[in-house]
């Protein structure tokens, strides 16, 4: 059987991107579901939406847990997408790696900010 780990790991060719492809679908679907869940709560609330109602939506425990999962899904989704963009347009390896590293730092930093906001609520 062909060795497919360590220095023999498949990094190119057929199916090496299947996991990323699948992750992109699952995280995208979760983001779509979150959009519906949030929208439903905004539409079903009566009267104008001020601070109390808006913050109240995110204050319930299930919504915090869902939003946490959504933030993870979002940065994972954005990572796969941005990595594809760099792989398509930036050929020099050093520049591509640098841009990918900056993207990761950018996304992880943004996720930290989102968690900080959620924890405070």
């Amino acid at each position: 059987m062909a060795v497919n780990y360590g220095s023999k790991r498949t990094v190119t060719g057929a199916h090496y991107g299947t996991a990323d492809w699948l992750v992109q679908r699952f995280t995208g679907a979760l983001l779509a579901v979150f959009t519906l869940v949030l929208l439903a709560q905004v539409i079903l609330s009566s009267g104008p939406i001020g601070y109390d109602k808006w913050a109240g939506i995110f204050a319930s425990q299930w919504m915090k847990v869902l939003t946490f999962a959504v933030v993870v899904a979002l940065i994972w989704h954005a990572w796969v997408g941005m990595r594809n963009v760099w792989m398509d347009y930036v050929k020099p390896v050093g520049m591509r790696l640098t841009l990918q590293a900056i993207t990761l730092a950018w996304l992880v930093g943004c996720a930290g900010w989102a968690f900080q906001v959620l924890w405070r609520l």
């Binding site: 779509a32 959009t35 601070y51 954005a78 950018w106 900010w113 989102a114």
Partner: protein
């Protein structure tokens, strides 16, 4: 291997600035290109989105800062500019969501005929732009 691998052909005559504007963009290509563009825009504007989220949920006072950003402006940016950036984000989200759902449907149904590609692309553009007009009018206080 019995014969030497032939060198693969390379095409280096594509110039993005010169050729892309004159390309004929079929609707499916337009939706695909806009899907990518909207994704990159949202990734770049993520800190702005998080700022809005932070201010809108943290406290009554920060909620006031959130709403006044759209009227009085934010730092050196006037209110209309904040609204314009938000309008771009609304478009990016609507387009990315609908084009993404189109992808999911195609993956699950394998309904990948040329006609369906064109019709669903037209559907994505029509629905996202109609919703953009409705939400944009609300954003700029037309109703």
């Amino acid at each position: 291997m019995s014969e030497a691998a032939k060198p693969r052909p390379e095409f280096r005559n594509i110039n993005a600035l010169r050729d892309l504007p004159s390309y004929r963009w079929p609707l499916a290509a337009l939706v695909s290109g806009a899907h990518r563009l909207s994704g990159v825009l949202m990734a770049l504007l993520l800190p702005f989105i998080l700022w809005l989220f932070d201010k809108s949920v943290s406290s009554e006072i920060s909620f006031g800062q959130f709403t006044s950003a759209f009227t009085a402006g934010l730092g050196i940016f006037p209110g209309w500019f904040i609204k314009l950036v938000t309008l771009v984000l609304i478009w990016a989200y609507l387009h990315h969501l609908l084009a993404g759902l189109r992808h999911l449907y195609m993956d699950m149904s394998h309904n990948t005929t040329k006609d369906f590609g064109r019709q669903s692309a037209a559907g994505v553009l029509v629905v996202s732009l109609v919703l953009l007009v409705i939400l944009g009018a609300k954003l700029f206080g037309l109703y």
